[in-house]
Amino acid sequence: MSEQITPYQVAPKTPLAGSAAAEIREQGEITRRKFPVVLTTAWVALTAAVGGLASILGRFLFPNVLFEPVQKFKAGLPNDYSVGEVDERWKDKFGIWIVRNEEQMYALITICTHLGCTPNWLPSQNKFKCPCHGSGYYRTGVNFEGPAPRPLERAKISIDPADGQIVVDKSVQFHQERGEWSSPDSFLKV
């Protein structure tokens, strides 16, 4: 009966000398002096690992290739646009109105400055009107009614010297309230 082993019975303790534990102690014991180095190394390694993972995760959410219209496009020759007209041919594809008057041409970005909806050009009322909350803009892009806080933005517009076509670059934008509409890149002399 006395030889029966219960599940909770443990083997008798043996002296450390000569055991595996004793070898570890002799060779690589973490002394008080080594401990701060080990602790620092461990924390640096952990921080690097977590930080690296987090930055990979964050970067992964920013796509390299976009399946959306390009920011810079050729819009034909200046003579394709008649004077006094707000041209809507690029509105659906590139989100741009090209407006031509007697002196100049400019490219308005079709994003309402209130909350980002797309306004409609109403020729009979000679204004842009946003369907979301009723912001109104003159054909220059300057706001005059509704909640819009500032005028529509203009995109960079230039002439390609090779073929004389208009080039519109939406990635460069000009704000009227910052006085940028006087910049020579914000309109074409015609």
């Binding site: 964050g58 959410l61 920013f62 796509p63 976009l66 399946f67 959306e68 920011q71 980002g116 909806c117």
Partner: protein, 260 residues
């Protein structure tokens, strides 16, 4: 064999005993053991305060919120069998869910359940505030609850895009514009214009916080897929994890509501 013999035969069988280990819970001790020994039953405390079951005190809004979360999980899972998050199919699949799929009310239940859950979560928060149940030692759980409220709203926001109709697209256009104003990370946010190399701005519409959120400069196919994954996987898992902590802390912080 009499009925009693059959009954005893079943109760004494190994199958029965392996499932119901405690036997008939006819004493308080056995009841406690039965509850604590079961994964499902132990989610609810063995004993609750009398004030804890008073509807006039708790409004049962926490429980209602959780119930609605389960409703949303089940109905949402069923909707996933029919819905494809691509611009070719998303809108027509939503129409088919109403017109062609069995129980066309399933999508309506998911939608109304979502509205109800937002209301229930708000009322729960209101009740917790009015009864002072946010005070120590429950202040940690209040903060977990605030995060859960935000996750509930984000679930509604991401789900709003999935029907892919005009309302959805413009609502998310308007809503995601808020990310443009993120300080230092949105292209219209404070301090963002200071981050540049020479004349080249480093924070612009092609790499700011909104771009990371909607995977593009404007709402498109990538946004739909991204919001679908957030709506069906990321946010529900995060909310489930935080709910587990929330419920556990309710008990560890002195039981469901009532004076401490």
């Amino acid at each position: 064999m009499t009925l009693k013999q059959v009954q005893e035969g079943i109760v004494n069988s190994q199958v029965w005993k392996s499932i119901f280990r405690v036997g008939i819970p006819d004493t308080n001790r056995k009841r406690v053991l039965a509850v604590l020994g079961s994964l499902i039953l132990h989610l609810h405390p063995v004993k609750v305060r009398r004030s804890g079951v008073r509807m006039s005190y708790t409004w049962c809004m926490g429980g209602t919120s959780f119930f609605l979360f389960l409703v949303e999980t089940v109905t949402g899972l069923l909707l996933m069998f029919y819905y494809r998050p691509t611009i070719e199919y998303a809108f027509t699949d939503i129409m088919d869910l109403r017109e062609q799929a069995p129980f066309g009310i399933m999508r309506e239940m998911h939608r109304w359940g979502a509205h109800a859950m937002v209301i229930a979560v708000w009322l729960h928060m209101f009740r917790v505030f009015m009864t002072g149940s946010y005070k120590p030692p429950r202040e940690f759980n209040w903060n977990i609850g605030v995060i859960l409220l935000v996750l509930t709203l984000l679930l509604s926001f991401t789900g709003y895009l999935l029907p892919w109709d005009q309302l959805a697209i413009w609502a998310i256009t308007v809503g995601s514009n808020m990310a443009r104003a993120t300080p230092g990370a949105g292209n219209e946010g404070p301090m963002s214009s200071l981050i540049k190399l020479g004349d080249v701005p480093l924070i612009h519409a092609g790499d700011d916080a909104r771009f990371g959120l909607i995977a593009g400069r404007s709402i498109g196919a990538a946004t739909l897929l991204r919001f679908y994954v957030l709506h069906c996987m990321v946010i529900p898992l995060a909310a489930g994890f935080l709910m587990a902590i929330h419920f556990w802390r309710v008990r560890k912080d002195g039981g469901i509501s009532g004076p401490l």
